[in-house]
Amino acid sequence: MLFSSITFLFIFLPVTLVLYFVVPHKFRNIIMLIASLIFYAWGEPVYIILMLLSIFLNYVCGLDICQKEDDPQKAHRSLIFAIVANLLLLGFFKYYGFLLDSLNAVLPVDIPYRELPLPIGISFYTFQALSYIMDVYRKEVRPQKNILYFAMYICMFPQLIAGPIVRYIDIEEQLKNRTVTMRKFGQGAEYFMIGLAKKVILANSVGQVFDQIAGLQLGSFSVLTAWVGCISYAFQIYFDFSGYSDMAVGLGKMFGFEFRRNFDYPYTSSSITEFWRRWHISLSTWFREYVYIPLGGNRCTQSRHIMNLLVVWMLTGLWHGAAWNFLFWGLYYGILLVLEKYVWGQALERLPSVVRHIYSMVLVLIGWVFFFSPSLGYAMKYLGAMFGAGASAFADKQALYYILTHWLLYLLAVIGSSAVGYSLIRRIVGSFDNNRAKRAAAGVVYIGMFLISIAYLVTESFNPFLYFRF
């Protein structure tokens, strides 16, 4: 079930909210857990068993590590078992087809295999479970003895299928004690409606432009069209994913949780390093805490540090998908971060901010080409078209058509992807003198946004969600 679906908005969410607030406090977690299982089973009736087994496995692994904490060797062995078991599960469902396809392509063999669809959210919930296991081993948290709380942590529906990846340490206390005030609920609803509007109004609209351009024959469009396509995708993936994250954070607040934000206006970055501090923050944090720092981080020799960065970014690429282009995309960012750290980082800081911003955005756009391309070959050809090789012309009527018919959409996208959009809303609401008028203005703005989103949902059938496949 998608947050941006009529079923979720008008049946699932209202029913869950009513039940959650009607039942006594002690039953709220049970309601939340049942709702989360229904939410997942709606789209993945078969794989709900896998998720439940993963919950049981990590629950007992956490207890086992704790029971062995007096014997470091045994505790370490238990940790390795838990990590390997989780990675094998993720690897089997996500990567074994890729591995066999790669073998079939490289070797003179044709190994047939039975393929299974990717369980939705497996990358997210496996990473959450791994963070718990590693934090228990490091004694940063005590293992959760109540399986209800633990199951809630793994499969809470607001962040189950698309993150943000929540660390157990961050919500351990909230699983037991949390409060929902009117103010917090209102903030949550605000976040949710902003996220919904980002997803439905902006992401879906620019996504349609991108789909049209991506459907054109390579070589049949101009340089400008190629850039319009790439920029459209950049906006689509940002509003799609950050919109979904905002909805998750908002829903969390409505049920009393506090999740950290996953995006911080990444397209306003002045360097690639800054971009990755602002994009998918929960994933970067996870890799920093559980891979980069254990590998030695930057407290080692220069060559080792470079190696650490490249390993982490290759894994980040692979996390996004089992394909060579994702691996390449990760490596591309790894190399850029190494170059910013050791080659041109200081020189970059001396440049005017406009130049730094253009530098960052051009590199990010090139990165998205690897991300959206079905293969590396396609990515190279598309990049060629963006820089004139294999393009039909520099600009043509087609490119002008896309720009002239969608200029308002792109203007909204630029505003929405910077802090200007949100501060504009705050300014409109804050321009009224008394609190009553402010509340009324906020209601008009947010309900207006919600109604427009619903109108889009009802009239448009195009409602994909890009991060589903991760």
């Binding site: 078969v46 068993i49 896998l50 087994l53 993963s54 049981f56 496995l57 007992v60 692994c61 207890l63 086992d64 029971q67 238990s78 078992f81 838990a82 078991a85 599960l89 089997f92 087809g97 047939p112 295999y113 039975r114 393929e115 299974l116 669809p117 990717l118 994909p464 496949r469």
Partner: protein
């Protein structure tokens, strides 16, 4: 002396307790074993296949009773299901020669998993429409529709509305 013996027995017991696996340790191996069984069952009953569309199509056609069925061309998928056959890796559609019969067999291999949701919705819509068409005057056809076999295995979708639908579905599953 007795104390020493008691202490000795006690420490051996304690050592035994230390070496004995705890409930959590046993449970993790049990859960892992259940996961492996679950994956094996998934592979048998829910997996798709990398076999080509033509291989699966041939296997299904080999058991089809085509006395009352005719193979529809590409336009058939558009006409009956609202889908463009060019969008998919392969399409095989058999429809009844008689408008009074609900018999139909459909096999589609999608190019990517993202297409499957739309295809499945279209098939479910078609089934609902056909039930509406026959409701009230052709109870046998309605029964055929109710006993129809719809299954999704990886990138393949298979639908059989026929008296031998279960057999067709078995053949499809075995051919993967």
């Amino acid at each position: 002396m007795m104390d020493r013996e008691l202490n000795g027995t006690g420490s051996r017991r304690a050592a035994g307790r230390m070496n004995r696996p705890g409930i959590a340790e046993v449970a993790k191996y049990v859960v892992m074993a259940v996961i492996i069984v679950y994956i094996v069952l998934l592979m048998i009953y829910a997996s798709g296949s990398t076999r080509s569309f033509n291989e699966i199509e041939k296997a299904v056609e080999s058991v089809l009773d085509t006395d009352n069925l005719k193979k529809a061309e590409g336009q058939g998928l558009k006409r009956y299901y609202g889908l463009n056959s060019a969008d998919y890796e392969g399409v095989m559609l058999y429809t009844s020669e008689s408008s009074m019969s609900a018999e139909e067999v459909l096999l589609i291999k999608v190019k990517n998993e993202g297409q499957m949701k739309r295809v499945k919705e279209a098939v479910e819509k078609r089934l609902a429409n056909r039930k509406n068409d026959f409701e009230g005057y052709a109870p046998k056809e309605v029964q055929l529709l109710e006993q129809s076999q719809l299954t999704v295995r990886g990138k393949f979708l298979f639908l059989a509305i026929a008296p031998r639908a279960a057999e067709y579905k078995d053949t499809f599953a075995k051919s993967l």
